[in-house]
């Protein structure tokens, strides 16, 4: 994986030739230095803790809250979901990625109990004081997948949501859920599509929840490995992600609703939807690259033509986002940054104290770190795609290497637009 192959090909003439050569040598889009490694691992840890909440709550909403029309308490995780075993951690794991416990992360539990106030008060009051995990961010990611899903062309998951089979499964679940509720059943008869679309959204809740169920233990494990001194370079971190992606690629993506003690298989596991193609890749495309224009940055005015007509031209994901206005009105990533702020490892807090405004603008500093780390994750996805579709980096055949190069170049073409932060993250001055 680390064999340098760039010598066998003439230098690339691409704008990002340096980065392409680095990718060809098994590296990441993010420069390899200890400072970057510290930042990305620290932020993986800070991201994984709220993510542990996100995936549990996403599954809870998809499975238990379901079509509740007055879902006031959908962010109040019940005990079962806090104790729900992650399939990739703990002793009874299907595939043990993280060596820690399978139940909720202790730091998350401590935060849910005491919060920023550092006081044990009923959860409702924590919620009302906004002393909580910003679950809205997870829902925004989910909606981004839902809305871009149809447009992205790959995967069969979204197409399945329109099949008669899916509609029949959903119909059974809807009828069971509203059993004994003539008002809702009557509405369902009048406007069946309204409820069906809600169930589709819930299927995406499940999809994203299952995606993050994998990512949280991966990030926890990387943090542990780093603390133990077993992750020493950025490419190592990226390769850990690549290996994780392949190990987990075939895990099922499904949607089960739990209604009155009975499980309704809206998307059964037997449909064969898999983690890599139906969750990971659509997620990266929808959330890292596209999402939706920030209300505080772009005008949705149709005459102003600031927002592209085509969904494929959307470029508002974290790889393109301007992190400096985080904390301002109309900038959605603020929600995530605020969540991660609570769980920063001490070495990262110390690191931020040395720069810019110290703790005062930590929200932005960690946002930029997050952007760096997501470039590393995207690099892992690009390398994984290259491994799956093309040739190894140490392939002796120059034609194969050329194919690899064309693939890398086409991937990096997406970062040519001025908003892309790929140029910025090459320098440590961007913080």
């Amino acid at each position: 994986m680390t064999t340098a192959t760039s010598t066998q090909l003439p230098p690339s003439t691409h704008e990002f030739a340096d980065i392409i050569h680095r990718l060809e040598a098994g590296g990441s889009m993010l420069p390899d230095n200890p400072e970057n490694l510290k930042q990305i691992i620290g932020i993986y840890k800070a991201y994984a803790v709220p993510m542990d909440f996100y995936w549990r709550d996403l599954l809870y909403i998809a499975q238990e809250v379901f079509l509740e029309p007055l879902d006031f308490f959908k962010y109040f995780l019940p005990k079962e979901y806090l104790e729900l075993h992650n399939h990739y951690a703990g002793d009874d794991a299907d595939l043990r990625i993280w060596r820690g416990e399978a139940t909720v992360h202790p730091e998350l539990l401590a935060f849910m109990e005491k919060g920023e106030l550092n006081q044990k008060i009923p959860r409702l009051f924590h919620h009302l004081f906004h002393d909580r995990i910003n679950m809205e961010f997870a829902e925004a990611c989910m909606r981004s997948m839902l809305w871009h899903g149809r447009d992205m062309g790959w995967g069969k998951f979204d197409a399945y949501l329109d099949s008669d089979e899916y509609k029949a499964n959903a119909d059974a679940a809807i009828k069971a859920y509203f059993q004994g509720n003539p008002a809702m059943l009557g509405l369902y008869k009048l406007f069946p599509e309204m409820f069906l679309e809600q169930v589709r959204q819930l299927s995406y809740y499940s999809n994203l929840g299952l995606f993050w169920e994998v990512m949280a233990p991966v990030f926890f494990e990387m943090s542990d490995l780093y603390d133990e001194g077993n992750l020493t370079t950025v490419p190592e971190a990226m390769n850990f992600l690549v290996n994780g992606i392949f190990a987990i690629a075939g895990r099922p993506i499904y949607h089960h609703a739990h209604i009155r003690g009975k499980v309704y298989e809206i998307i059964p596991k037997s449909k064969g939807f898999t983690w890599l193609y139906e969750a990971a890749l659509p997620y990266v495309e929808a959330v890292f690259y596209r999402t939706a224009p920030f209300r505080g940055t772009k005008s949705y005015n149709a005459q102003a033509k600031q927002v592209p007509d085509e969904q494929k031209d959307f470029h508002y994901g974290i790889l393109y986002a301007d992190v400096f206005p985080v904390g301002t009105a109309g900038i959605p990533p603020t929600l995530l940054m605020q969540d991660m702020l609570h769980f920063l490892p001490p070495y990262l807090v110390d690191y931020y104290r040395q720069y810019c405004r110290g703790e005062d603008d930590m929200l932005i500093q960690l946002g930029i770190t997050f952007q760096r780390s997501m470039y590393c994750v995207t690099s892992a996805v690009i390398q994984a795609l290259r491994t799956a579709l093309l040739y190894p980096l140490d392939d002796p055949n120059p034609k194969h290497l050329m194919a690899n190069r064309r693939f890398f170049e086409s991937q990096l073409d997406r970062f040519k637009r001025p908003e892309a932060r790929l140029r910025d993250i090459q320098s440590q001055d961007y913080r």
Binding site: T297, D322, F324, P325, V326, G327, T328, C356, R357, D360, D361, L363, I364, D424, Y430
Partner: protein, 502 residues
């Protein structure tokens, strides 16, 4: 009591100037601040002694000094001078507090500021024309040095321009005063003993014209204003606060005290012309400010515009308009000090004052959010948004002047709208928009640096919703002053003028 008010800053100046040990800038800043707060406290003590119902001179002090010259040390305050005294004591604290730790050569800096303060205080309380000129000239050299040493890049030019203009202003005022005393045959220069009743209207007009040009330079009125943008822009924020906040009030004060009070008849004759000059100032200030690209320059031109209102109000000479003029002096002093302080912070943190380079300062984490909010409050106060002190003053000016000079007043109201225009430009370019990611690594504004702005903002706000705290000092005095002015009857004036035609 009033002597102490002049004496305290002199004591402070001597204390810092002759401090035995070398000392740090912070030490001298703290000493200066204690003295300045002492002056403020003493001003409050005077306020408790102030009789709100009396229109005349209060707390008089009188010492014959050089009787051969008619110079006596005669002090006193009334409703016209007291609000300005209080403003001066208050802004002096702000000027000394603001960013004082970083000042170079503190042993020269603080004594000079105190000298300016002593000069201003003395001029506001002096009841003798020569004594007034003495104090008026006293703040000239310290301010020249304050601009020339601690100013910006073109400080030498700005300071020299300021010095020449102000010196000329002093000469004209002195000439006017000598003329008043000699021509009226008065033996002393005490204000109470001088009467211009016996002078012919022509003489009165000439003398008033001399004073008008002399004080007009200081206010400044439009053709005489060109020293102002340079001096304000090149001066450091603290000095700009002194210059714009208080010194310009000295001109307006002098014009009302000596022009309107000593020459009520000639004033009535000149009033329509004065109103036009005022309107020209107001319009000129507003249009020039719109054209500027430097935020400090915009604020400086806004000052010209706002001082024009005072002239219009004083020319109208109704009880309400004169009260409005006093209110406008105080309100403009507060607002200008507020704006200069904020512009100083922005320049210090961002390193530029250019409208084209500033952007997105409202950003809560990387910008200067509270400073931006203050800038918006300051801009709104300056533009006369109700709820802030600027509106009270402007509205009284408009209400008081409309019956006398309707056209001029309407033009002032339009200019007030133009004020909103350029402050909207300023705020839009400075506070709104997005930060430049290449440059936006600005240092944060410390809590201690916010204190003066916060104090000024609270004052501006409180006086805006409780204006009687601003107006009650002056009402009897201004009403009494106006009663001396004969009604401005243009036909009558024309006849009077004809009588003196050669």
């Amino acid at each position: 009591m009033l002597s102490l008010l002049i004496g305290l800053p002199l004591v402070g100046a001597a204390l810092i100037g002759f401090w035995p040990s070398k000392g740090s800038p912070t030490l001298f800043r703290n000493i200066a601040l204690v003295v300045a707060l002492g002056i403020l406290a003493w001003t409050v003590a005077i306020a408790t002694q102030f009789d709100l119902a009396s229109p005349g001179m209060q707390l008089p002090e009188n010492l014959p000094w050089i009787p051969q010259l008619g110079l006596s040390y005669k002090l006193g305050i009334d409703g016209l001078s007291f609000p300005l005294l209080a403003l001066s004591a208050f802004l002096n604290c702000i000027a000394i507090y603001g960013r004082g730790e970083t000042v170079e050569r503190p042993r020269l800096y603080y004594p000079l500021i105190f000298l300016v303060n002593a000069g201003l205080t003395g001029a506001f309380v002096a009841q003798n024309l020569l004594l007034f000129v003495l104090f008026y000239e006293l703040e000239l050299i310290p301010l020249y040095l304050l601009i020339g040493i601690w100013g910006g890049q073109k400080r030498g030019y700005a300071a020299m321009k300021f010095l020449i203009y102000t010196a000329l202003s002093g000469i004209l005022i002195l000439a006017g005063f000598l003329g008043i005393a000699w021509l009226s045959g008065s033996s002393s220069f005490d204000i109470g003993s001088i009467s211009t009743k016996n002078l012919s209207l022509t003489t009165q007009l000439i003398l008033l014209g001399t004073l008008l040009v002399g004080f007009g330079i200081k206010i400044p009125l439009v053709p005489l204003h060109t020293w102002l943008p340079d001096a304000y822009v090149e001066a450091s924020p603290a000095v700009a606060i002194l210059l714009g906040g208080i010194l310009s009030k000295l001109g307006a004060y002098g014009l009302i005290r000596f022009g309107l009070q000593l020459f009520p008849e000639a004033w009535a004759v000149l009033a329509p012309g004065l109103a036009i000059i005022g309107v020209v100032s107001v319009m000129y200030g507003a249009f020039s400010a719109i054209a500027q690209k430097d935020i400090k320059r915009m604020v400086a031109y806004s000052s010209i515009g706002h001082m024009g209102y005072i002239l219009v109000a004083a020319a109208a000479g109704t009880p309400l308009s004169l009260l409005g003029a006093v209110a406008q002096m105080v309100s403009h002093g507060l607002i200008l000090a507020f704006l200069f302080y904020i512009v100083g912070i922005i320049e210090q943190k961002i390193g530029t004052r250019e409208l084209d380079d500033l952007n997105g300062l409202m950003n809560p984490n990387r910008g200067l959010p509270l400073t931006s909010a203050f800038l918006i409050v300051g801009g709104m106060a300056s533009a006369g948004i109700p709820g802030l002190v600027g509106f009270i003053a402007e509205f009284m000016v408009f209400q008081g002047s409309f019956s006398v000079f309707p056209v001029q007043t309407l033009l002032c109201i339009i200019a007030s709208g133009l004020t909103a225009v350029y402050f909207a430009i300023l705020i839009n370019r400075t506070c709104f928009g997005k930060l430049d990611n290449q440059l936006a690594y600005y240092p944060k504004v410390l809590a201690v640096e916010r204190v003066p702005a916060l104090v000024l903002a609270v004052t501006i706000f409180i006086l805006g919703i409780q204006p009687s705290w601003l107006l009650r000092w002056s009402e009897p005095t201004t009403t009494a002053m106006v009663s001396n002015i004969p009604p401005s009857n243009l036909g009558q004036i024309a006849q009077d003028l004809n009588k003196f035609a050669p």
